[in-house]
């Protein structure tokens, strides 16, 4: 939980403490939650050479992309195939039962996706965490 900002309690007429108010502002500014603006505006105190490089490629690992593509194609194709397949071969003419089979197949694909997401390793790589931690301080 970030500490609450303290700039409002300091009176504006503290002319002699010009340096104190700016350091209080800087202190409360450093404890804000990171917003989208922080990443785009390079402020003077934490501009680092590696932050200035443009993102050349997305940082998502290749196997995650492959899994996502595979599940998207499965969810797209399997329920429809199950509906028409069971309509033609298993329940000839009974459309309600084929629809139930299609719904079951769609939910099986969803359960497989939730399981694949559950067992995934979500630890961050060291290269990412270093720049991220330096930015927040």
């Amino acid at each position: 939980m970030p500490k609450p900002k303290t700039t409002k309690t300091k009176p504006a007429a503290a002319g002699a403490d010009g340096k104190a108010t700016t350091t209080a502002k800087e202190r409360s500014k450093g404890r804000r939650l990171p917003t989208a603006r922080d990443s785009t505006e390079p402020s003077s105190e934490n501009k680092k050479p590696e932050d200035m490089q443009p993102a050349s490629a997305p940082q998502i690992p290749g196997n995650v992309i492959r899994k996502l593509l595979a599940f998207s194609l499965l969810l797209l194709a399997l329920p429809i195939l199950a509906y028409f397949g069971s309509l033609k071969y298993i329940f000839v003419g009974s459309t309600a039962s084929s629809a139930i089979v299609a719904v079951i197949v769609a939910n099986v694909v969803l359960a497989a996706y939730v399981y694949a997401a559950w067992i995934e390793d979500t630890s961050e790589h060291p290269a990412h965490t270093n720049t991220r931690k330096l930015k927040r301080r």
Partner: protein, 170 residues
């Protein structure tokens, strides 16, 4: 076949009953896709919000989007089911038209509700889960309950669809 004016407008199998049937087909896919679209969009806002500071949780964060896609699959299955009963060469009773309209509206509006719920829960759930990983199970449970709303609509739609009958048309 010569049908009288009274038969065509006021009989048991009037000429306008396919309109009701096809409105059911349209309602099934249109409203459930609207719900799924809202769910995907709202959950996508949360994912982009959480992804700026936790990009490694992408697969877990996309679970609301997959569930919203399944809501659209329910609407697709129902509309394929209903349109399979429509045949231009055979008679179509007003009763079947009303049944198909009800069937399409059932799955469509419940899909809209389920997609709306998935969107809002997915948005805030993913943002909270990015900060506190133990929220994952709670988020998935709430999403499953939201999805079941669409499933109830599909079940009622299937049950209604079996009642359509054109036997009394001559």
């Amino acid at each position: 076949m010569s049908a009288t004016w009274v038969e065509l407008t006021q009989g048991y199998c009037p000429a306008y009953s396919p309109f009701l049937g096809f409105m059911g087909v349209a309602a099934a896919i249109v409203f459930s896709s609207a719900g799924a679209g809202y769910g995907t969009a709202k959950a996508g806002i949360g994912i982009t919000g959480a992804g700026t500071f936790r990009p490694t949780i992408i697969m877990r964060a996309l679970i609301p989007v997959v569930m919203a896609g399944i809501i659209a699959v329910y609407g697709l299955v129902a509309s394929v089911l209903i349109s399979g009963d429509m045949d231009p060469k055979s008679k179509y009773s007003l009763f079947s038209g009303c049944v198909h309209l009800a069937s399409g509206l059932c799955v469509g509006m419940t899909g809209l509700a389920a997609g709306w719920c998935i969107g809002i829960v997915g948005d805030m759930g993913v943002r909270g889960f990015a900060k506190e990983p133990r929220l994952f199970v709670g988020m998935v449970l709430i999403l499953i309950f939201a999805e079941v709303l669409g499933l109830y609509g599909l079940i009622v739609s299937l049950i209604l669809n079996t009642k359509a009958s054109n036997a009394l048309c001559h």
